[in-house]
């Protein structure tokens, strides 16, 4: 049986409405920082727009080249250690805020990606290769190396534990 497509509906309407009301209230009570916050938010949106475009493209490419069965095979419950390594690597190389990756991960999860891999992806995001020189400059290479090592090991443990608790 062919899977029916979900009808289009906006999500997070209440979150948006709550934030909107918060801004209006702050504006009405005369908080000067509202305009600054709006400018900051606009700046953030502009900064993450390219990342969102990449996420949309990646989602489309995954759906085009990989059938749901293949995604389930590579990232699902039957997947092996390679899936954990891929997830770890993806977390390290992914840019931008965590929420920018929600649409892609939700899509992959809908096709059978296991929850442990999503947890690994999120946990390994502390390590950012382009930012490593800056981290070394601020805290030294010993700190950076040890932190990186612990983060990578703990990301895998978190993924495994999440699956253990969430079954």
């Amino acid at each position: 049986m062919k899977k029916e497509d979900k009808p289009f509906a906006f999500r997070g309407k209440y979150i948006f409405l709550t934030v909107f009301i918060l801004y209006v209230i702050l504006f009405l009570v005369g908080n000067e920082k509202v305009m600054q916050a709006l400018q900051k938010s606009g700046g953030i949106l502009m900064k993450i727009l390219p990342i969102l475009v990449v996420v949309i493209l990646l989602t489309a490419l995954f759906n085009y080249f990989l059938r749901p069965k293949q995604i389930a095979k590579h990232l699902g419950h039957e997947s092996g250690y390679k899936a954990w390594m891929w997830s770890l690597t993806a977390g390290v190389v992914s840019h931008g805020p965590m929420y920018a990756w929600y649409p892609l991960l939700e899509d992959l999860r809908g096709h059978g990606m296991r929850d442990g891999l999503i947890a690994v992806f999120f946990a390994s995001r502390t390590i950012k290769i382009p930012l490593l020189p800056i981290m070394i400059d601020y805290f030294g290479w010993v700190f950076t190396l040890i932190l990186t090592l612990y983060v990578l090991i703990s990301a895998i443990i978190q993924g495994l534990l999440l699956e253990l608790f969430d079954t």
Partner: protein, 151 residues
Amino acid sequence: MEQKQKKKSIQRPLFRKILMKSGLAFLSMAPLLLGVIGLVGLFQVLVTPRMLASLFRDNPLFDTLIGTLSGAAGTGNPMVSYVIGGEMLGQGVSLYAVSALILSWVTLGFIQLPAEVEVFGGRFTLYRNLLAFFFTMLIAVLTTLTVQALL
């Protein structure tokens, strides 16, 4: 052969169509993302690095906990957390707190919690965040102890 190719082209939908579907899926999340971005902007203006640094005492366990919580409340590029962490170290705040702040800055976020619940469900969000919270504290302590032992 020709029949095989024809069958293949029938099975695989057009990329344009799939791209449009992905675009629509993203568009449906627009209010969610805009809400989170609006909150991030508000927090960046209202919560200053100086406010965060003033929370710490000279107790490793308490500082690790406060570092984790302030990192979870903080938002923005991870580099911002390095700058705040560097300033904190300069002001005499312990490495426990700084490590915890850097870690939780990226992996935990009070602001994006409602969005995470909406997308992944309450159960997943609860387990993931509890694990991230526990491991942030653990890694902060382990990193500091290892660095102190090595240097």
